[in-house]
């Protein structure tokens, strides 16, 4: 029973992909970048290119988990006047664009400031699927967990190579949707070579939970995506998309990269098929 509940919206989409014998592609772009409308068009291109789950980044003034690429995009979005209500309306527009689940990835303070339960209600009302919370651990998350459950939202917490098995058990027990496994000890950003910390972390996480496990941090191309899809349920890509937008390649460029990554997660061998 808990398995069914913990799949939630994003988890169901990931399992649909896994059932088709492939890894799922979770794609990230921030709201409001390069502009409010331009951001919506770029995120739509993620859907058009074949993303299975969307992560909409909530730009924040002090993004300590992010490398320079996402920092610059966040600063630009905020400088252009992006507000919390604009993040919610971006979610609403994407949720009505397709059936692809829309999660918001956010640092905690903007949610606390808006009001945790109020944000959960408005996110659900906008058709959002839930939150990914990089600086909120379940130990501090009682209010969010209660509100998410009340409004039927996914709760995606992070696990890390440094997490103890005990913390992995506790954290995954609080997750619904998927578990975000950070592949490296570090911040977001594209990396040359794949991390050798990711596979052992996924194995430890899967030993603790039936909730799907997504791997993020450092994945930027189809080969890397194929490599990660061989051991994880979902591949999370963010900074590589932001770089495409930053380079001015527009929705067409975003769609090209999405299609390439979508091909990557479909390559054999994918252990996902054996689930």
């Amino acid at each position: 029973m808990s398995e069914v509940i913990a799949l939630g919206k994003a988890g169901a989409a990931i399992r649909t992909a896994n059932d088709a014998g492939r890894g799922a592609l979770v794609a990230y772009l921030p709201a409001g970048y390069p502009s409010y409308d331009g951001g919506i068009d770029a995120i739509k291109a993620l859907v058009d290119g074949g993303a299975d789950v969307l992560e909409i980044g909530f730009p924040y003034s002090d993004p300590v988990m992010d490398g320079v690429t996402v920092q610059r995009a966040s600063e630009a979005a905020l400088a252009a006047g992006l507000r919390t209500r604009d993040v919610l309306s971006t979610v609403e527009k994407l949720a009505s664009y397709s059936d692809v689940p829309v999660l918001v990835m956010t640092y905690w303070n903007p949610i606390e400031r808006y009001g945790v339960d109020r944000f959960a209600a408005d996110l659900a009302g906008a058709g959002g699927a839930g939150l990914i919370t990089p600086d909120l651990i379940p130990d501090e998350g009682a209010e969010w967990i209660a509100s998410a459950d009340k409004h039927d939202l996914d709760k995606v917490f992070l696990v890390s190579p440094s997490s103890t098995d005990e913390r992995i058990r506790m954290t995954t027990a609080a997750c619904r949707g998927f578990v975000y496994a950070t592949a490296v000890m570090g911040v977001t950003g594209t990396r040359e070579k794949p991390s050798d910390l990711a596979a052992p972390l996924v194995a430890r996480t899967k030993a603790a939970t039936g909730v799907p496990v997504g791997v993020g941090l450092g994945v930027s191309n189809a080969d890397q995506a194929a490599g990660v899809a061989a051991f994880a349920d979902a591949v999370i890509v963010g900074s590589a998309f932001v770089k495409v937008v930053e380079a001015g390649e527009g929705p067409a460029g975003v769609r090209r990269l999405t299609e390439s990554l979508a091909e990557g997660v479909r390559r054999e061998p994918s252990t996902a098929a054996s689930r």
Binding site: Y60, S61, D62, P63, V64, M65, G67, V68, Q71, E75, L78, R83, T84, W108, N109, P110, I111, E112, R113, Y114, P134, D135, L136, I137, D139, E140, F157, L158, V159, S160, P161, S162, S163, T164, R167, T171, T182, V184, M185, G186, V187
Partner: protein, 404 residues
Amino acid sequence: MSTVLPDQLGHFGRFGGRFMPEALIAPLDELTRAWQEAMADPEFTGEFDRMLREYAGVPSLLYDATRLSEAAGARILLKREDLNHTGAHKVRNALGQALLTKRMGKTRVIAETGAGQHGVATATACAYLDLECVVYMGEVDTERQALNVARMKLLGAEVISVKTGSRTLKDAINDALRDWVASVDKTHYILGTAAGAHPFPAMVRDFVRGIGDEARAQSLELLGRLPDAAVASVGGGSNAIGLFAAFIPDAEVKLYGIEPGGDGFETGRHAATISAGQVGVLHGARSFLLQDEDGQTIESHSISAGLDYPGVGPEHAWLADTGRASYRPITDAEAMEAFRLLSRTEGIIPAIESAHAVAGALDIAKELGPEATILVNLSGRGDKDMDTASKWFGLIDAPEAGRE
């Protein structure tokens, strides 16, 4: 009132805690264990005391400032932390955490700095204990505190100028945290103030609480009783919590935190976090912070780089919330007037941070009356601020002289 806060998860009432990436939770747990074991180990505490005494010049003097008292209209005692090695209270925390770094078997230290005082103290402790040292400093601060950048480099530290965000202290902390999450295996982050995620607020407090412990004993010796009030400036809050900690159980001693009022409340250009901020989460803890309607951090403003921070340590938020301490702003102009007054009456040039506390004490003296004895933490010396002071008072004949 209980002094055993925080609880096991680092909460001071509703403040504090850990709002940090999961990657840092296990390292923070390890740090908490290492710190608690160290503080219970006489070998560690003995070595810390020895370093403070023989190297840092602690205990600092408690000085009966009679000419300042005459001007203030109440008796003012100055805790002379400005006389410590490196010129501020910061050396206590830096030595404590550097010694803990060695104990944990780590070889590299990172730190953030605003005015440069914590960066210099950390670079000093690392030179003394043979540790690799990298200091993050906002680009704006490297410009207004160029002398301290030179000091850190001379001491062997690498200084990284942070060019993101507002390019001040908060952004230096962001970049230090980004470094730490990628390097935590061999690196300890010596946070410079009693803020951040657990165990930092409690750990930093315990390393600097000698300020108040000494001042309390010195007051009893000098006065035969405790002072009526204890006053300290509050940016992140380390010198203030260091002074307050010893007095929190003494209900008869009023505690005053002096916040940087910048150009004045009404202008919005200030860094008076408790007086004007709201509850929120920044840099790993729930506390008061300067934020907009959407929870985005607002840039703070103060003539004092060391107080120019939009957050504050969670124990201060708790002391304010419970009413045990009160917090009030002092403007740049009031602080600079006190800076001049202390220089002229006592021959002591204070750090501009500490000048805020002196200015606050002048107001409190009027409120408490001539019988009152007010203990002020003179947290640092003013050498680093001479460029700012010269411009403010027009002391140097140069084309660019005059107020910034």
